[in-house]
Symmetry: C2
Subunit: 227 residues, 2 copies
């Protein structure tokens, strides 16, 4: 008899806490720590130990009573669970300032993200290289994405072009879109969309800052030293 | 008699939708559109018109029946509300890959963020310039932050150094911290902390992608064309 594996339903909050645990565990691993308990992890983050235990359950790792988890095993399992143990090839559309910044951020490779090439409609950008990655014309994307089995598409075009960039990538068989444009995008069912909204995070910060500043404090005239 | 202004309590969700509206309005403005209604804005985003109306109320702008809002007025009011009409000087701590990427992302200036200088503990980085911004030693931060009345501190150090970078900036009077490190940080009351967690957003994307891929599809052997 074949038993169907129960699909693991994982909350977004758990998914977002796993990278936090992973970073802590990697530090512990580098320090030569061999075992760690949920209580110890929870203490580092001011989290509830029960929550940590529940989060880590999704990785399939099992801790030992009074000893805890093997740090090395937990690191591997979280990476595997997040898909960070294998490289996912990605295309980036929009070689403007943000696109350039992402192309230059080599640490993505640690998280299984390998940006293979950039695409732009601007003929002045096409043909150039940014941090070693070639900038290609948009019309080459569909064919190349299929031939290279590209999994992830990164959208760094201005908001008003984001939907057409997404449509182009989805039409080329790209199933997961990481969107940096401040635009809400429509996707067909089966396609994965994740928004990484820097400007929205910044909006929360600067609005809080000005409301805070308006609550009384007046700033002295600034003298700006040369630095 | 003095009337105290009622403090506007704004939800995080509203704050995160305002940049979306702003980008749309700027496109409309560039196209010469003079007026826009909540219904039209809602339609663009598949939002509920009542929600759009409520979101826009916080800016203090008042629309006219059957005509809607003046686009130019609404652009200005949202910018003012978010604090994007004035530059906030910021220091960045951690001139690694992510720090470099952010220093090179000039569009931040559109959002009122002006990164003045970077700080790093690595003597090999100190003294260099990244996209024209000087990299200074950490011990210069407290004095300079006070003299220059720096409002925002950006944390781009590795997770294990994030708390000490934050403490250094808060000790120097910086009241708003934008944290890019995958670490939960403790802040004293009165200090504003906003986390911009790229790795966590990526975790959601890649985990969804591998679960999706495991649902049956097998990939053919890849042939990688030279591009």
């Amino acid at each position: 008899m074949l038993l169907k594996e129960k699909p693991v339903v994982v909350s977004r909050s758990t998914l977002k806490r796993l990278p936090l645990y992973l970073h802590l565990l990697e530090v512990l691993l580098a320090q030569g720590v061999e075992h760690v308990s949920c209580t110890q992890i929870a203490k580092e983050f001011d989290f509830d130990p029960t929550q940590v235990r529940k989060d880590l359950e999704v990785t399939g790792e099992v801790g030992t009573a009074r000893i805890g988890f093997r740090v090395a095993g937990l690191v591997d399992s979280i990476k595997e669970f997040l898909g960070w143990n294998n490289a996912h090839d990605a295309f980036l559309v929009g070689a403007g300032n943000l696109g350039k910044a992402l192309l230059g951020y080599h640490d993505f490779e640690k998280y299984g993200l390998n940006i293979v090439a950039a695409f732009d409609k601007d003929p002045r950008k096409v043909g150039s290289r940014i941090f070693g990655k070639e900038v290609l014309p948009l019309n080459k994307l569909p064919n190349l994405a299929k031939r290279m089995h590209i999994h992830i598409g990164i959208v760094t075009v201005p908001a008003e072009h984001a939907q057409s960039a997404l449509d182009l990538m989805v039409g080329a068989g790209i199933m997961a879109i990481w969107n940096f444009a401040p635009a809400p995008l429509r996707i067909p069912s089966g396609v994965i969309l994740e928004n990484a909204r820097l400007t929205q995070s910044l909006a929360v910060l600067t609005n809080n800052l000005i409301r805070h500043s308006n609550q009384g404090e007046t700033y002295a005239n600034r003298d700006v030293p040369k630095i």
